[in-house]
Symmetry: C2
Subunit: 326 residues, 2 copies
């Protein structure tokens, strides 16, 4: 199975690393918008091509994993590339998933290709667990908590404040809220009641720290509705202690069964990830295997994690899975 | 979608209750080996038929859920009934799953029916989570912990000891073992190092409690390799405090990613169930919906949870799932 990567940032490097862990796959090459000779890959002798040449490599590639941003890259790139390749992306703008799905589905179907959008962990594994749990416990309630982990969007928002050199923002689930959910008491909780935000900020020399802290804590949408903790630290401390991109979270469903609803059940799925992009990549690579297998069986069009039978994710045969994993 | 139940014990009653929570289903009736007029259902006016008459009701039933024991009932009943019905079972004898699958597959395929074996939570949801997690993190290690919950087999084993009136045995995960696994230290743990066994025993008046406790703690396979705690209680206490059938457990996979394996990840799935049979039933009912949908699409033969796309478990359409759950 020959995989290619389109876009070589954190996610692209994660795919490069994840493919090496799967013996039934090899990496054909990387496509980039930059000048190919300026791109340094982590794998020696890995071909790097300009994205304008991508159609010349159609026969070298079974599945193309598109590592672009959801705001502007993927809405254009995924439908366009689905005309000529089996593709995957990690599109995560929840509100426009239906439109993106329709565009990719039309392009893929018309050309006999298969595509999977919104792979990763949320959307992705978290979505799957919401679906499984709600199908099993129809009389119940879902809760999703994110973190502890770096929110790129919130870190960026802090960096835009005057006098800020750099910043990292951790989203942290509130333990009391987690405990209340697990107890089965079905609390009504806002996102702000479920999470707190801890910020590590490097300020310019002589900057007004009180003003910066106040601007962070009162920022609408991003921080105003949350308990927010601000620490000012040095650039050295930021680099030393906050250089990684951890993340994770919890999907919990509580529900009742029995003729009088007398029995409570808690289904919980959680992730604790040292590297958000590398884990997302690992999910995408498993789904690359699945859509490759599905395409071999003649399946075309756009899919999501909801449409993929679990067995297709595994390199093991049905016999092996039943004998060793069931 | 018309569901019928074959076998009316704890699991059959759980199915009866679960079907009521799903608006796209109705219960056609119950088949029993007992005299039908002696069976009291929880649903008023629910038909109860003798199993010998089952072929007379072929047209009344879309999916038949077989609620029998794995030791002797299901190996015979599921292949036999798969000749005439779309069937599900919760066959849980891991060692003979391949043989059972082959028998059911042949019977179902030959007659254009679909079957799903080994539904429930282990095998079932736990198996699914082992599969997903191992496909995502190939360089990792799986751990399954069971409990806290009632083990029927271990409770039965205690009841066979001379002088014992009744007993309940709880399997309990050892917290230190759970913590060690979650830390990513990849410990090697025997089942006995992961679980302890707590027994509540009602003894006959004047029975030799020291002998009974010793017989329990030294019983090969069941208790000898575990830390076992024995409490003697009255029959009233047993009925008052240990009348429920709770269970649950944890499936944890830890794994590494990155070019140097420098990032650790923990994927954890856990269940905390007030009623083991009612939760198992709820899983089976969701899979009944799935095989009904799959059969409508022309799929035949034997399946397991590994072969079912998650979307088929839900009453929602693909559009609704993508818009609200992805």
């Amino acid at each position: 199975m020959k995989i290619a990567i389109c876009g070589y940032g954190n996610l692209g490097r994660g795919i490069e690393s994840a493919v090496r862990q799967n013996k039934d796959m090899e990496l054909a090459g990387i496509f980039t918008r930059r000048a190919p000779e300026t791109v340094k890959t982590c794998t020696p002798d890995l071909p790097v091509w300009h994205i304008d040449d991508i159609l010349n490599h159609k026969d070298d590639i079974d599945v193309l994993i598109i590592c672009g941003g959801s705001a502007t890259d993927l809405p254009k790139m995924t439908p366009e590339l689905a005309k000529n390749f089996n593709v995957l992306d990690s599109f995560d703008t929840h509100a426009t998933i239906p439109q993106h799905f329709a565009n990719v589905d039309a392009a893929a179907k018309e050309n006999g290709n298969i595509a999977l959008i919104s792979g990763g962990w949320d959307p992705g594994m978290f979505s799957l667990n919401r679906l499984y749990a709600s199908a099993i416990l129809p009389d119940g309630k879902d809760y999703t908590f994110w973190g502890k982990g770096i929110s790129q969007g919130h870190s960026d928002a802090i960096r835009r404040i005057e006098g800020v050199v750099d910043a990292r923002q951790y989203t942290i689930p509130i333990q009391e809220a987690l405990d209340a959910v697990r107890s089965g008491s079905n609390p009504e909780l806002t996102t702000g009641e479920k999470h707190l935000r801890e910020c590590f900020v490097v300020a310019e020399d002589g900057a007004d720290l009180v003003r910066i802290e106040n601007e962070i804590k009162t920022m609408p949408n991003y921080f105003a509705d949350y308990t927010t903790i601000v620490h000012f630290i040095s650039l050295e401390e930021l680099k030393r202690d906050h250089g990684e991109i951890p993340h994770g979270g919890f999907v919990i469903r509580t529900g009742k069964t029995g003729f009088k609803g007398e029995h409570n059940h808690v289904i919980e799925y959680s992730l604790k990830l040292d590297s958000n992009p590398e884990f997302t990549s690992s999910v995408l690579v498993a789904y690359a295997r699945a859509i490759y297998k599905m395409h071999k069986r003649g399946v075309t069009g756009c899919k999501t994690v909801f449409d993929v039978a679990p067995a297709d994710l595994s390199p093991l045969s049905g016999e092996e899975l039943r004998a060793h994993m069931l």
